[in-house]
C-alpha cells in the first residue's frame, strides 16, 4: 500500500460523496428558498383569511385552508386510533407467525400504493359503493387509510423503544397484559406516537391525487358545513391556480405554495423537536 496515494484516493472519494450530497441538498434549499422569497410578499391577513373573489384572482385562500384542516382532522381521527392499535397489536401481542408476516407485508404494500390508486379506491368504495358522494368524509377516509402505514411504523418504533423491563415489572406486580400495555408501555411511547401523528398530518395536508375524485372542489363560494360537503383544499387549490386559471397574480401561486409548505414543514419540525426532546430525556 502506498499511504500517500491512498490518502489522495480517500480525499477524492469523500469529495465525490460530498458532491453527491450537495447536488441533493442545494436544490432543496433552492426550492424552499424560492417559495419563501416569492411567497412571503403575498402573505397578508386578507390573503389567508378571506374568500377568493373574481375567479380566484383576488381575495384569499381561506376556504382551501379550512378544507385542508377538515381533511386533516377527520382523517387523523379515523387513522390514529386504528394505527396505534395496530402497532400495539404488532409489538405487544403478535407472535412471530404467518399472520404477523402477512400484516407486515400489507403495511409495506399500503405504504407503496400509488397515491392516485388511493384516489381510485376512495372513489370506488366511499364515493360510489358506500354512497358518501364527493365529500369531506370520502376524502378524509381515503387519506386516513393512506397515512396508516406512517402511524403504524412510528408508533411501533416508539413502543419498541420502551425497555422490556417496564413490562416485566408490571407483569410481576400481577397486572394483566392490557393493564401492562396501558399503564406501563403506552405512556412512555406517547411522544413517539405524537410524532407519528404529526408526520401523518403533514402527509395528509400535502397530498393531491387521493382527493382529486373524492372531495376536492375547484371553487366553492361558502365554507363546508358538514362532512358530506365538498371542500376546497390547499394542494388541489395550488394545482388549480397553477394549471387551470389565467391571470392569477404570481404572488398568489407562490403564496399558496408557501402556506402549504409552511404547514407541512411546521408539522415536520415539531415532530423532530418532540423526538429529540424525548431522546434527551431518556
Amino acid at each position: 500500500m502506498k499511504p500517500r496515494n491512498e490518502g489522495l484516493r480517500q480525499k477524492l472519494g469523500f469529495g465525490v460523496l460530498l458532491l453527491a450530497t450537495l447536488i441533493v441538498v442545494i436544490p432543496v434549499l433552492g426550492i424552499v428558498g424560492l417559495i419563501i422569497a416569492k411567497g412571503w410578499g403575498a402573505l397578508s391577513w386578507s390573503f389567508l383569511f378571506s374568500m377568493p373573489r373574481d375567479g380566484m384572482r383576488a381575495g384569499g385562500i381561506w376556504p382551501a385552508i379550512v378544507g385542508t384542516f377538515y381533511l386533516v382532522f377527520v382523517s387523523i381521527a379515523f387513522a390514529l386510533p386504528i394505527g396505534v392499535a395496530a402497532a400495539i397489536y404488532l409489538n405487544e401481542y403478535a407472535k412471530d407467525n404467518g399472520l404477523t408476516r402477512a400484516i407486515n407485508l400489507a403495511i409495506i404494500n399500503l405504504a407503496g400504493v400509488s397515491s392516485v390508486v388511493f384516489g381510485l379506491f376512495g372513489l370506488s368504495l366511499f364515493v360510489i359503493f358506500l354512497r358518501f358522494g364527493v365529500s369531506i368524509i370520502s376524502g378524509a377516509l381515503t387519506l386516513g387509510i393512506m397515512t396508516l402505514p406512517v402511524i403504524i411504523t412510528t408508533t411501533r418504533e416508539a413502543l419498541r423503544a420502551v425497555p422490556k423491563s417496564y413490562r416485566e415489572v408490571s407483569f410481576s406486580l400481577g397486572a394483566s397484559h392490557w393493564q401492562t400495555v396501558r399503564h406501563s408501555v403506552l405512556p412512555h411511547a406517547l411522544p413517539g406516537i405524537l410524532t407519528g401523528a404529526i408526520l401523518s398530518i403533514g402527509r395528509v395536508a400535502g397530498e393531491t391525487a387521493p382527493i382529486l375524485f373524492t372531495v376536492a372542489a375547484f371553487y366553492l363560494p361558502n365554507l363546508p358545513t358538514s362532512l358530506s360537503d365538498q371542500a376546497m383544499a390547499l394542494p388541489y387549490h395550488l394545482y388549480v391556480i397553477t394549471s387551470q386559471i389565467p391571470g392569477i397574480p404570481e404572488g398568489f401561486r407562490f403564496g399558496t405554495a408557501f402556506v402549504l409548505i409552511a404547514l407541512v414543514l411546521i408539522m415536520n419540525v415539531s415532530a423532530s423537536i418532540i423526538r429529540s426532546r424525548y431522546r434527551k430525556k431518556k
Binding site: D54, F78, R131, L190, Y219, P221, Q230
Partner: protein, 297 residues
C-alpha cells in the same frame, strides 16, 4: 408516571369519535346526492366555462346570499355525467349532447334540457415570434393529425412543430376533433396525433404557447392575450382568412365557433330556474362579455 397518564387510553374516545363520525356522515348523506340539501346548487362541467360559471356564481351569490352555488370543472363530459348521475343540478358544456348521453338520461327517467347561454370561438394560437399569417382549415387539420411536422411546410421557419391539445374529457378537444380533424363529422377515423401534448387546461396551453416558439395550440376566445399570436383561419384556400372576434363569431364567418350550453334535468324549477333566468338577464350576459365570451343577446 402512571398517574399522570389519563386513566383511559387516548385511543378509546378517539376510536369512538371516529366511528360516530362515520355513522353521522353516512346517515347525513342517505337522502341522496341531488337536491336534498336546501338551497345548494352544484354546477359542473366544461373547463372552458368554469371561469364564466364562477363569475355567474359570484354575482348571483351577491343577489341571493342564501343560495350556495358551487362550481367545479373537469370537462363537459364530466358535467353531463354528473347531471345524469344526479350529483349536480346544472352541467356546463362546450358541446352538444351525445346520443348515448340522451339515452343514459332517458334510462334514468328524465330528459336533459339544453340552453344556449353564450357563443365561443376556438382560437388557433402560436408564439408571437412565429411569422405564420394565416392557415386554412385543411392545413390546420393536417397540422393536428401530425402530418405537418415542421413550420417550413406552412410557409414558416424551419422549426419543429409542437402540438398542444386539451385533455380528452374537454369539450374543446372534442369540438376541435370533430370540427377540424374530421371536417365536421362526429364519427370518423381521424384522431389527434399521438405526439400531441395533452394539456390540463386552456390556461396551460396559453402558457406553453407564450414561452415556446414551436408550439401551436387552440383555446376559447376568452383566453386571447398579447402573449400569444392569434392565427386567422380561412374556410378553404379560396376564402379570406378571418380573425376571431365577437363580430365574426356572431356573424358565423369565423370557421371555428360553437355555442356554449347549460344542461338541466328537465324544465328548471326553483333556484335552478332563478339562476338560469339570471344568466339570461342583461347582468348575466354582461358577465359573458366580461369573461370574453360572446353574449347571445
Amino acid at each position: 408516571m402512571i398517574a399522570r397518564f389519563p386513566s383511559r387510553s387516548a385511543a378509546e374516545p378517539a376510536l369512538a369519535a371516529a366511528i360516530l363520525v362515520l355513522f353521522l356522515s353516512a346517515c347525513g348523506n342517505r337522502g341522496g346526492g341531488t337536491g336534498a340539501r336546501s338551497q345548494a346548487l352544484q354546477i359542473k362541467g366544461s373547463d372552458t366555462m368554469v371561469n364564466l360559471g364562477q363569475a355567474w356564481a359570484e354575482a348571483y351569490n351577491k343577489l341571493h346570499p342564501e343560495v350556495n352555488v358551487a362550481v367545479t370543472g373537469g370537462g363537459s363530459g364530466t358535467g353531463i355525467a354528473a347531471l345524469i348521475n344526479g350529483t349536480c343540478e346544472i352541467a356546463e358544456s362546450s358541446r352538444g349532447l351525445e346520443a348515448k348521453e340522451i339515452e343514459q338520461a332517458r334510462a334514468k327517467g328524465f330528459a336533459i334540457r339544453e340552453d344556449i347561454v353564450a357563443l365561443d370561438g376556438i382560437v388557433v394560437v402560436v408564439h408571437p415570434s412565429n411569422p405564420i399569417a394565416a392557415v386554412t382549415m385543411e392545413e390546420l387539420r393536417e397540422l393536428f393529425l401530425g402530418d405537418i411536422r415542421r413550420w417550413k411546410m406552412l410557409r414558416g421557419p424551419d422549426w419543429p412543430v409542437v402540438l398542444l391539445s386539451r385533455e380528452v374529457n374537454s369539450g374543446t378537444h372534442i369540438f376541435f376533433k370533430e370540427h377540424v380533424l374530421r371536417r365536421g363529422k362526429s364519427k370518423g377515423p381521424e384522431e389527434f396525433a399521438p405526439l400531441a401534448l395533452m394539456m390540463p387546461s386552456s390556461y396551460a396551453i396559453a402558457e406553453e404557447v407564450a414561452q415556446n416558439e414551436n408550439a401551436v395550440g387552440y383555446y376559447g376566445l376568452g383566453y386571447i392575450s398579447p402573449r400569444q399570436k392569434v392565427v386567422p383561419v380561412a374556410k378553404d384556400e379560396h376564402s379570406p382568412a378571418i380573425a376571431p372576434t365577437i363580430e365574426t363569431i356572431r356573424a358565423n364567418t369565423y370557421p371555428i365557433s360553437r355555442p356554449l350550453y347549460l344542461f338541466t334535468k328537465g324544465e328548471p324549477a326553483g333556484s335552478v330556474k332563478d339562476f338560469m333566468d339570471f344568466i339570461h338577464s342583461p347582468a348575466g350576459q354582461k358577465i359573458v362579455r366580461d369573461t370574453e365570451f360572446v353574449p347571445i343577446q
